[in-house]
Amino acid sequence: MLVDDSATILLSISNILGKAGYGVEKAANANEGLNKFKSGVKVDLLITDLNMPGMNGIEFIKEVRKLPTYKFMPILFLTTESQQSKRLEAKAAGASGWLVKPATADELLGTIKLVLR
């Protein structure tokens, strides 16, 4: 699942993932993503932005981790934020990896392969 408040990011990243053979479930904000998780959507990986209007990425993944089905699902942050302190916060909340925007297709797909391994 891909969660980002930017429609352009949703379109471009989902295209790259689709081209690489992944099916993509999209959500325009954390609440929409959380509702999809609560409805039991089947996904292998969550890619989320950090800074979003309303619920931010870290609060979002904390809520996702509370759902038993997604307790061990890999979660990857794709964000413009680069500070170490935020990463530590995300790691403590249950994130699996961190990728700083703008990321190339190789960086994105390579990281996805690693977290799905």
Binding site: S6, K19, K101
Partner: protein, 424 residues
């Protein structure tokens, strides 16, 4: 005006007035005591006291006159200075009111700038979305092209396999043709020899005919001798003479028949020769051989050309496939680079936040000017806003720009940014 200047001016005026007053007292002292006091009927003490009072009053006014003469102001320049300061104060109040009014207009100004920035965000987002959509369209075409190339490559491979099979078959056919040509040459030579043997045998029959003709001539001669001997025998040989005559006639017919047989044999031999002459001619066999070899060679060329053509097709398809894969890779990179818009949007939103802060600060400054005499007025400094803006940055480039702007040089921020990709 500073005190030293004022003191200097007062000293100069006092000295001038002192000199004038002293000179006047010195010159008028005797006249005052001899003429004025008796005329007014005043005692010396009273007269001196009144005279001193008069001199002091006169000295005061003289000082004012001297001050006007020297400094164009009756209070050593203080009056002019006060008027000037009053005028400057009026100007300052006027300017402060103007600045206050302008500061209140900063929000309007910033509204325009914010509007422009928001338009930039909306337009770049729309442009980036359009670019992404167009890239998606291009990718669909590339994907179709790639599928077409794959299917065409498969068809080409099938065609190559089929053509190789056909070429092998053609090679077999060519080999069979070569064998056939060789057989045809051998058979033609054999036929030629057989026909020549038949003709030879036919012609050899003429020797038998000659033998029969010789026997016939000898028979005729023998019949003639028998007729002569029969005639010599007389009546007794009459019957034998008839037989001899019949034998001679038979010999003549046999001779005639031999001539006809010989003619027939010659005609048969000639007819066989003429019938097979074209067929057995060596040049015809060579022409046939050349034609078959030419056909074989053309078949070979055709196969080779077809092989070259399919190889070229395979090369073109490989090139197109390679280009298609490279285009696909470029498409992925182009798609990824669209993220710049999200980065830019967040940077612009940061600038808009800074403008909002500037709005509030400008209003506060205007209020400060209006309430200049309020000792409890709290003015939050810009530095505090700058610190808050710094703490809200998300990118290391923003922090670097911030530090560079403050230091006026190339200073990198001391923030603790991690690597671009990190797995926990």
């Amino acid at each position: 005006m500073d005190l030293i200047l004022l003191l200097r001016r007062a000293t100069i005026v006092a000295m001038i007035v002192g000199i004038i007053t002293s000179g006047g007292v010195y010159l008028l002292h005797d006249w005052f005591h001899a003429s004025v006091l008796p005329a007014l009927d005043l005692s010396k003490q009273v007269g001196d006291s009144l005279g001193t009072l008069f001199v002091l009053i006169l000295g005061f006014f003289t000082q004012r006159l001297v001050s006007i003469a020297l400094f164009r102001d009756w209070m050593l320049g203080l009056t002019l200075r006060e008027a000037e300061q009053a005028s400057r104060a009026d100007t300052y109040v006027c300017a402060a009111e103007q600045v206050g009014g302008e500061l209140k207009q900063v929000k309007t100004f910033n509204d325009v700038v914010r509007g422009q920035l928001n338009t930039i965000v909306v337009e770049t987002e729309k442009a980036a979305y359009d670019i992404t959509s167009r890239l998606q369209g291009i990718d669909e075409i590339i994907t179709k092209l790639s599928h077409f190339v794959d299917s065409t490559a498969q068809e080409t491979n099938d065609l190559v396999a089929q053509s190789e099979l056909r070429i092998d078959q053609n090679r077999g056919l060519i080999e069979r043709l070569d064998t056939y040509i060789a057989q045809r040459v051998t058979e033609a030579q054999s036929d030629q020899e057989r026909i020549a043997a038949v003709v030879g045998e036919a012609r050899s029959l003429t020797k038998l005919v000659d033998l029969i003709k010789s026997i016939s001539g000898q028979t005729n001669l023998l019949a003639l001798n028998a007729a002569i001997e029969a005639a010599r025998a007389g009546e007794a040989g009459r019957g034998f003479a008839v037989v001899a005559d019949e034998v001679r006639k038979l010999s003549g017919e046999a001779d005639k028949a031999v001539g006809q047989i010989n003619q027939g044999i010659q005609q048969v031999a000639s007819s066989i020769e003429s019938q097979f002459q074209d067929k057995l001619a060596h040049s015809n066999i060579q022409q046939e051989r050349d034609a078959l070899e030419s056909f074989s060679s053309q078949l070979n060329d055709l196969g080779r050309n077809y092989q070259e053509m399919t190889a070229h097709d395979a090369e073109v398809l490989a090139q197109v496939r390679d280009s298609s894969q490279r285009l696909s890779s470029m498409f992925m990179d182009a798609m990824a680079s669209v993220q710049f818009q999200d980065v830019t949007r967040q940077q612009i939103e940061q600038v808009i936040d800074a403008l909002n802060r500037l709005d509030g600060h400008s209003v506060l400054l205007a209020e400060r000017l209006e309430q200049f005499d309020d000792p409890h007025f709290e003015l939050r400094p810009l530095a505090a806003h700058l610190d808050e803006i710094y703490s809200s940055y998300v990118m290391s480039s923003q922090r670097d720009s911030h530090h560079n702007a403050l230091s006026g040089g190339n200073v990198t921020s001391n923030d603790k940014s991690g690597p671009k990709v990190e797995l926990f």
